[in-house]
Symmetry: none
Subunit: 414 residues, 2 copies
């Protein structure tokens, strides 16, 4: 499998406001033909660092793609640094000068002298013509096995140049390999617990590659399979994905990277069942997540963020004495919230959340992170007690995830 | 001026779906104390490349910051590669093992054996403790002039660790130049309209530098001032920030980068006034934004996400015939939602939102993006009609922002 590195060039990409996005598109295109991106670099106008970066990348990788730094101004240094990095001279390409001059004439302007710089090409390299701008690209391929591809920064110039003039040659070289990826998402199990369970499975396979990622409160299992055909890669993903899913059981909530709220939406819509939500510490978060899904009006009826106790009493008919006796953060109140809202809203299911998200409000008996989740359907009302780690944002998010996961597991049993 | 490099570690950051954002925040913090970021690298699970990257960066830059790859699983390789890159051994720190075990015990779980890996520290380096996660960071400073800072990947762990334990030491070293930044946030005015109004002001100044950034539905004005002292930089910011704020008037809602919901929370808490929210198309988003602010229980009483018409009728007492006559997305229904909830919840203010977030549900008469915002206080009930551009996510977010901005402008008048 060929390996690639991507180098994004430009001081503006080293500010807090801007980030390189060209590399995401390039990565997708390279992955699709089975070339793996091993490293990405962002470098500014520092000639020494740029030369070193290109040199190192070209020494260790089969394909090096640079974007940016091909303009006519002083600080556009890609051409010079790339030439030095590969030990070649820059040569003025007269044909290119004429082409660039013609572009300017088309716009009724004279070519400024400095634009001649854009016609400087690495000795022995090929010109990649640029129908969308004045900076041509460069393809340097000294041995046939190594590619140095120098592209302009603006996406509307870079993308067609790469797709039309570079990708076909890389595809030829890369051969038949197809790469496919699948993401399994897991709820209710930690990273290390998952690893302990599935390492015996995935360590048996070099292909697909498995990595375990922690993403907020979810663990994701990324499988990347290579095959000589789409079918081969898919069947590898099915094999290992299937074994892992079987091992972890109901903890795997998504087989293809779906969000928890998408899974809930799908399940309820298919069954034509309805849901209402009563929230205290999550304050509307569960409703917001569900209603972000297009078509959620098919199953989502109503949510009540009963933040103050007065709201729990008024809108959810929680008896004041129940709150007084057990506290607003209690199993009893969580169940009352869920049960009463189901009766009021007339839905098939309700979920409720009450807890202490912090940073204030915790006591020794009821610390920050203590959360009760209530669930009610036609046959039962029940609750779960959780001690969630993290700050206010994470506790709220994890509580919302745990509530939706509780509903999902109930739905799977019916 | 000191130079820095940032290395983001993790295979997931080399996929087309994910990008490193930690480096943007780190760049901002480093710039603020006058340290320039010269290069950023993203590297995956390739031990050879990672070691080489750290080694090269540490050789040519004063400060090297790595993020990620400190988890307990097989493919978290930062510790080992960093140790090799600087020619040191990894040593098991027993105190750290005890701390990590204690964290697990707090969550009522046993520490998996593999988590011991997180207590391996580079010989001679200092431990950066992590109150928000199980992976401690590492600060390696062999000579006093060079910093290798190894941080965990999750922003919620990385940011406080860097800010509290690393930044003070770097500031000491960085010395004389002080760079300060101020972010003004603007609601209800577009990027070009703002630029037309304030360009005559900011073009008069080389220092501070001004840039106008578009961030979701808000425009942000970033002022960056350099001075030989904190005072000098601050007084430059005050001067230019003051002139811009005066020019734009009430459209500037935050002088120091605050979120809209923080501004609302501050205003209502100071006045000891209360708020309830009735949402349809935003489905809990406004409540969620407000309750994300610590201490929001001081002013936020209740939110009702009345998504189905039945919920508008039941929970907000909107007459069925009003919905029939004008449609659920109408000025009349928006006002009824706001007015009725204020009476029910007994708050000083209510806001309501009803609209068409799409992608489905639009008609020629009522297209996707049509949103009515209702407002009610003791003296008046009123509404605003908006046609919001964007996809479902953006329309919902912009509607929530416009609703909060309407309340803010009303509060400023009282």
């Amino acid at each position: 499998m060929l390996s690639a590195e991507i180098i994004a060039i430009g001081s503006e990409l080293l500010t807090p406001e801007r980030t390189d996005t060209n590399s995401l598109w390039l990565t997708e295109k390279l992955n699709e033909i089975g070339i793996e991106v091993k490293l990405k670099t962002v470098v500014g106008d520092d000639a020494g660092r740029l030369e070193e970066t290109i040199k190192d990348a070209f020494a260790r990788s089969d394909v090096v793609v640079t974007t940016g730094g091909l303009g006519p101004t002083e600080d556009d240094i890609t051409r010079a640094c790339a030439a030095k990095a590969v030990g070649k001279n820059l040569i003025l390409n007269e044909t290119l000068v004429d082409e660039i001059r013609a572009r300017f004439q088309q716009m009724m302007r004279e070519m400024p002298e400095i634009n001649k710089r854009q016609a400087m090409i690495i000795e022995g390299a090929q010109v990649l013509s640029n129908p969308h701008g004045s900076a041509p690209g460069i393809l340097f391929q000294p041995t046939g096995d190594k590619f140095l591809v120098i592209l302009p920064g603006p996406p509307r110039e870079m993308k067609p140049m790469f797709e039309n003039l570079v990708l076909p040659r890389l595809r030829e070289k890369a051969g038949e390999i197809v790469v496919k990826r699948r993401v399994l998402r897991v709820a209710g199990l930690g990273e290390s617990a998952i690893d302990a369970q599935i390492a015996p499975i995935y360590t048996e396979y070099q292909n697909p590659q498995t990595s375990i990622l922690f993403n907020r409160s979810e663990v994701e299992i990324w499988l990347t399979a290579k095959g000589s055909s789409e079918q081969e890669a898919t069947s590898l993903l099915n094999e290992v994905g299937g074994k892992i899913s079987e091992k972890l059981g109901a903890a795997v909530f998504a087989q293809n990277g779906e969000l928890m709220e998408e899974i809930i939406a799908k399940l309820l819509t298919e069954r034509q069942q309805t849901l209402a939500i009563a929230e205290s510490c999550t304050g509307g978060l569960i409703c917001e997540r569900l209603t972000e899904i297009p078509g959620s009006s098919a199953f989502f009826i109503e949510g009540i963020a009963a933040y103050a106790n007065a709201a729990k009493i008024r809108s959810l008919r929680v008896p004041a004495e129940l709150i007084e006796r057990h506290g607003a953060v209690s199993a009893e109140v969580a169940e009352a919230m869920a049960k009463n809202l189901r009766a009021l809203a007339g839905t098939d299911f309700t979920l409720s959340v009450t807890g202490i998200a912090g940073p204030g409000g915790g006591t020794e008996e009821k610390p920050v992170g203590l959360v009760f989740i209530g669930y009610s359907d036609a046959l039962q009302t029940t609750h779960r007690r959780l001690n969630l780690p993290g700050d206010r944002h994470l506790i709220r998010w994890r509580a919302s995830q745990a509530a939706l996961d509780l509903l999902r597991r109930k739905l799977l049993k019916n």
